[in-house]
């Protein structure tokens, strides 16, 4: 057992920290989130040049063979600055699904472009009725000649509006919540019949609802075996969940530092408000939640690097349920301890609150993961 970072991992952490320091001052981030794109293509290029977009891919597909721990390190550092680029959507979801389930040709045609920063992806899985159930898929893919025809609606596809291609889950057989019968397809977002409606999300990012209206795709669009995608989706979702947990850990650490500093400088009744015991104890509780969360994010990443079993799933759900709870507590109390300042769009703390609240929801909220943990216990 070893809880320390290796030398290479320390270098990786330092390099992401430096990127965040240079590019993600609170004002920069606010401005960037208000542009039409919602992130920066220059940043994306830098991330590619620094090798981060290839970090999580296996060496066989041209990546650097980093594990969940390397992803955790990057995400924690990005979380400190609330980085806006579509790293999770492109690399950890779309890219990871293709690397995991794709054929040699599919991988060859897509992954190198992702690693070079020339291709953006998204994962369209949620539907209006599905809430957090990954197997609740009503979008259909019907065999037609050599290929398939896709029909259905996907909800809140993060970075769907900027993705060149989306990975779509669709049902090729089975009932609407069966694990069996779900397939994955890689679809060009400019294909005929694809209606992408992009909008802002509360955390300053971008998402899209996507309607597939009899969209014809070739047989080469099918990712992996027909009808057998559920376990692949679950695995990649768990890896992404662990990554989001790490992002939350970074965001909580930053929110706590900002709030702690505010307690030391803001004066009322003639003294810094951090001298009041009731606020000290609140801040200690926020610190403890953040520490417990860091432990869980580390644990989940390390377990994922050992293998993928029911124990891993249970660990990821435990982590997400702890971190979801902590996201709400730290986010809300950070605003509370800032008083009126916490309510402004201009000041950074509210942005941490909103991203933390979002992470609580992504890939299943606290209740969902506590239930999944129970089912696996």
């Amino acid at each position: 057992m070893d809880f320390e970072l290796s030398e290479e991992q320390v270098l990786l952490k330092d390099s992401v920290d430096r990127f965040v320091l240079d590019n993600y001052g609170a004002d920069d981030r606010l401005k960037l989130s208000q542009t039409e794109l919602g992130f920066s293509r220059d940043h994306w290029k830098q991330m590619a040049e620094l090798g981060w977009l290839g970090m999580a891919f296996p060496e066989e597909v041209g990546g650097f063979g980093g594990g969940a721990v390397e992803t955790m390190i990057m995400m924690e550092s990005m979380g400190r600055g609330l980085v806006l680029e579509p790293f999770v959507s492109t690399v950890l979801l779309g890219g990871a699904l293709i690397a995991e389930a794709g054929s040699a040709e599919q991988i060859e045609s897509i992954i190198p472009s992702v690693i070079e920063g020339n291709l953006m992806l998204a994962f369209a899985y949620a539907e209006p009725q599905s809430r957090f159930n990954l197997n609740d898929v009503e979008t259909t893919a019907t065999k037609s000649g050599d290929g398939y025809v896709l029909s259905g609606t996907k909800s809140v596809v993060y970075h769907g509006g900027t993705a060149d291609k989306v990975v779509v889950s669709a049902r090729t057989s089975g009932g609407s919540r069966d694990a069996e019968g779900i397939s994955l397809f890689v679809v060009d977002t400019n294909a005929s019949g694809v209606d992408v409606r992009s909008y802002q999300t509360v955390d300053g990012q971008r998402a899209a609802d996507i309607r597939f209206d009899n969209v014809s795709v070739g047989a080469d669009a099918l990712l992996g075996e027909e009808g057998k995608a559920a376990p692949v989706i679950e695995k990649i979702a768990d890896r992404a969940t662990a990554a989001l947990c790490a992002e939350a850990v970074g965001a909580m650490a930053a929110a706590n530092e900002i709030t702690n500093e505010y307690l030391k400088t803001r004066k009322q009744f003639g003294i810094p408000i951090g001298k009041f015991q009731v606020l000290q104890h609140r801040m200690v509780d926020m610190y403890m939640e953040a520490e417990q969360s860091k432990s869980m994010a580390d644990m989940a990443a390390m377990k994922l690097d050992i293998g993928y079993s029911d124990e891993t799933k249970r660990a990821v759900s435990a982590a997400k349920s702890q971190i979801g709870k902590a996201c709400k507590f730290v986010g809300q109390q950070s605003v509370q301890l800032h008083g009126g300042m916490g309510m402004t769009d201009e000041y950074s703390i509210g942005h941490y609150f909103k991203r933390l609240s979002t992470i609580e929801l992504l890939f299943g909220n606290t209740d969902y993961h506590l239930n999944r943990f129970s089912a696996l216990s």
Partner: protein, 398 residues
Amino acid sequence: MDLSFTDEELAFQAEVREFLETKLPADVKDRYERGLHFTKEGQVRWQKILNEKGWMAPNWPAEYGGTGWTATQKYIFAQELGRASAPPPIPFGVSMVGPVIYTFGSQEQKDYYLPRILNSDDWWCQGYSEPGSGSDLASLQTKAVRDGDEYVVNGQKIWTSHAQHADMIFCLVRTDSNAKAQEGISFLLIDMNTPGITLKPIIGLDKEHTLNEVFFDDVRVPVKNRVGEENKGWTYAKFLLGNERTSIARISQSKLKVKKLRAIAAEQRTNGGLLQDDTDFMRKLNQIDVDLMALEYTELRMLSRIQKGEKLTAEPSLLKIKGSDIQQALTELSVEALGMYGVAYEAEEIREGRNDQNFAPDYANGPMAEHLYLRAASIYGGSNEIQRNIISKMVLGL
């Protein structure tokens, strides 16, 4: 970063497991599993078995009789103790005064006391709190006045756990009344058989006798029984409290309790089914299980930092707060699991004295006793409110 065990570590785990399976006395195990207080005889018998194996003091330096284990081995050992329902040694000797003696004590003190602690020849108790000095420990008033080669001690200690079994007490006493509160305290090792010491039992919420008042009336203590320098006792006292906080989280014990609760939930009937199908109950249990997992890895991260040579300030206070919260939540839920039998409770002596026992399931004996006793977990070792003050000051700089 890596969670896996090496082959050597797996072999070590197997060795510990086998040892506990064959050597842990059944009566000791049963009491511990139920959450009942140990008997002195049973606890000493078990500690001597541990010492014979050389496993009494994993956290001591090897030169004083420690095991020389890595952090991972210590973790494995603690996990296996919990898994086997094996009680860890009583902390007052091996976890509290032992490290103070080998860190600050004289050669003579080390040579005499350390082997006796390892072999459980002396039962120690802790003379810290006084009637007027609880959270404000440094205000303590028990006085030690120098008279030749001896101190004459007068005063009173309170909440002294298991003092009725004790051969020795380590005591904070005031040796300079004119200095600032923290600067006039000394750390004495006192033989409980010294004339002038009297005990008065305090019966607890659980109707059992674990707590005591200890009175000192012209008690003469050799100066050579003082640890370290005169008036520097506060430093040693804080060192001891810091050690106490890392061992107080009782994580492997709580894991055992979760396992036991799952077993009770699989037997306890409710609404025509079993308690384990009651989603409200199971949700509470699983929430605690998640909290416990978070605490376990927080402890491992801290131990890793300590192993690396980093000096932690008040971070272990987190372990104390969260550890005691979890212990209390678990014992509360254990009582809840019993349904109406949660209220059937008698002190052990009265219950054992009956010829006719009630018809409660066997596992009903224990949870309430522990629930009552462990209300103290958020009070002793520095209350959880005081721990928050410490983190606020030392870690957050508020």
